[in-house]
């Protein structure tokens, strides 16, 4: 196999993996937008918050320790135990559900029926608030996220070593994929399958779609709006956690994580704000597109660093030629 082609394929596959992560973040946006028409700017921060909480719980960190120490003059930082990954993830899920409830109870419950721009502004406020809380709770230093890798009894026998290898030589052709990326793809696929099944086949899923479509009608068939909104924010929190784990495992848990929300914007432009499959396909297109563009055109001809703007460029083109995105609901105006 010629070297150039092998490289291209490797770049392509790496792009797919990056795309999976973009798609995961975009998915959180789509969930909330579908059910409540809120564009949740805080989705990226939620991923950061979830990842920090997970690491904090795992390491037995005392939440708000800086604050506590400053007020009481104590010197506590750690409980001195290590929580098993699976248990820590379960705790984090609980935290995200509480967060969902609080967001609904203290912010959006008071903004029902407001203009979309007001709801959007509220999510910007929420993003900054949450970032501050995350900082106060767990500290601002970069932390390594280690899920299941140093614990022997977490994954099936042999899996640990396999992920630790970090790269995977595909069929001996001499190109490499991060094993972590493969795991991420599988997890993402399972998550999407689960969400689609939930939305299509369950009572709550049906109620969710009903609420997204018409509040009044949903009430009249016995759906509690409040419950559905908390459910949706919890789901978005869960998706944020998964995204946070993946990004955190790849590049450490740090505050720049919240900026991945910006990368999800072009993904949404491509996939459409209301489509779960759209978020996935959009994420993959952006991931592959920016890597391939950088490799084939950007680096040789444009002096590189095209990855930073390629996604936005693509989104702009889509806005001009197909504003509803690839899978979005077609905009038809009856006159």
């Amino acid at each position: 196999m010629p070297e150039q082609l092998a490289f291209t394929i490797e770049v392509f596959l790496n792009g797919l993996m990056a795309g999976v992560l973009y798609a995961l973040v975009a998915l959180g946006f789509v969930l909330i937008y579908k059910a409540s028409g809120i564009f949740n700017y805080a989705q990226g921060v939620m991923a950061l918050f979830a990842a920090m909480t997970l690491v904090g719980i795992q390491n037995g960190q005392v939440p708000f320790s800086h604050l506590i120490n400053a007020i009481f003059g104590t010197e506590i930082h750690h409980f001195g135990w290590h929580v098993h990954s699976v248990l820590a993830i379960a705790f984090t899920v609980v935290v995200m559900i509480i967060l969902a409830w609080a967001v609904q109870r203290f912010v959006f419950r008071h903004l029902v029926g407001q203009e979309p721009i007001i709801l959007f502004m509220a999510t910007i406020g929420l993003a900054y608030f949450l970032e501050g809380v995350a900082d106060l709770m767990w500290g601002s230093e970069i932390k390594a996220l280690d899920v299941c890798m140093s614990e022997g009894n977490c994954l099936p026998q042999g899996m640990n070593g396999w992920i630790d290898q970090t790269t995977f030589d595909v069929f001996g052709y001499g190109f490499f994929i991060d094993n972590l990326d493969i795991v991420a793809s599988i997890v993402a696929a399972l998550l999407v399958a689960g969400l689609v099944m939930f939305a299509q086949y369950t009572k709550q899923g049906r109620a969710m779609r009903a609420v997204a479509d018409d509040h009044q009608a949903a009430l009249s068939v016995g759906v509690s709006l409040n419950f559905i909104w908390i459910l949706v924010w919890s789901l978005a929190g869960f998706v944020a956690l998964v995204a946070g784990i993946m990004w955190g495992a790849k590049s450490g848990v740090q505050f720049s994580l919240s900026l991945i929300a910006l990368k999800a914007l072009p993904v949404l432009m491509l996939g459409g704000f209301t489509s779960i499959p759209g978020a996935i396909v959009g994420g993959l297109i952006i991931g592959v597109g920016e890597k391939l563009f950088e490799f084939l055109i950007g680096a040789p001809f444009l002096g590189g660093a095209t990855e930073n703007w390629f996604a936005y460029m693509l989104a702009l083109l889509f806005l001009v030629f197909r504003p509803q995105g690839l899978f979005g609901e077609k905009i038809i105006e009856r006159v």
Binding site: K203, S220, G222
Partner: protein, 272 residues
């Protein structure tokens, strides 16, 4: 006047049961405006009960009180022999009171069938996991619910548009789909807010037939609001007449027709 607990048989041979819902001295205010002033009336099982009145009489407000969208400042709602505590609309729906809206509130993005299936939401009880993987109790439940939905779709003659997204349907059909969704809940009381508003004569005749058939076939208690006097008089067993938030008449269509106050409200009267 018949006793609340008694049943009686109408001229056309239908049995009207005891009182299932009673409104006692309901008063509803919006700021300084009294939309409903001290109104009491009851709804009996199996009857078609109409609420009529000129524009702005407070008919829709009354329906919204029954369905929980508005909470009255004064008065009590009694349902199935018990006083109903203040409730959210979705809780009222779960108690078996389904409704349609004057301006149609359908799930525009869903197909007709999906819309009707949402009417079955209150009848779904199996677990989340079972529903996701379509096994066990959930499967049987979904099939049963689907059967009910299909039966109602057949009944209202909208088989041909089962899979059509609601947004594409003409107004008259949307009204019928909304009725189908409300019926799918197999409600104890069905509330219809101006089911014939904005329809032509033919559509009105169709809708009237469906209302009568629903009442006849399923024995559903129906409370409806309507502008068209002719339609109301033909359809209903008993009529409440409202004007400026007050009740000015209550009784059979014939009694109401001959009520001087009602005639004045509809035709206008010179005050001197």
């Amino acid at each position: 006047m018949k006793d609340q607990a008694d049943s009686y048989v109408t001229d056309d041979g239908r049995t009207i049961g005891p009182v299932v819902m009673e409104m006692k001295n309901i008063t509803l205010r919006f700021g300084g405006v009294e939309a409903i002033k001290d109104i009491s009336f009851d709804i009996r099982e199996g009857e078609i009960r109409a609420i009529i009145g000129p524009n702005g009489a407070g008919k829709s407000s009354m329906l919204n009180v029954i369905s929980g969208f508005y909470v009255p400042q004064e008065g009590e709602v009694w349902y199935k022999g018990a006083k109903r505590p203040p409730m959210k609309p979705f809780q009222v729906a779960q108690q078996g009171i389904a409704r349609t809206f004057q301006n149609i509130a359908l799930f525009e993005g869903m197909s007709v069938l999906d819309n009707v299936m949402t009417g079955r939401l209150t009848h779904m009880e199996s677990g989340l996991l079972g529903q996701s993987i379509w096994k066990g109790k959930a499967e049987a439940e979904e099939i049963a619910n689907r059967e009910v939905a299909e039966k109602i779709i057949d009944f209202l003659e909208i088989q041909a548009i089962r899979k059509t997204p609601v947004a594409r349907l003409p107004y008259g059909l949307k009204k019928r789909v909304e009725l189908a969704r409300a019926l799918a809940a197999e409600p104890t009381i069905l509330l219809l807010d101006e089911p014939m508003a904005g329809m032509n004569v033919e559509e009105k005749e169709d809708m009237s037939r469906f209302v009568l058939d629903v009442n006849d076939e399923f024995g559903t208690t129906i409370a409806l609001i309507e502008h068209d006097m002719g339609v109301v008089m033909d359809l209903s067993d008993r009529v409440v007449v409202m004007d400026y938030g007050r009740k000015i008449g209550d009784g059979t269509p014939d009694e109401v027709r001959n009520n001087q106050e009602v005639i004045d409200a509809y035709l206008g009267v010179a005050h001197d």
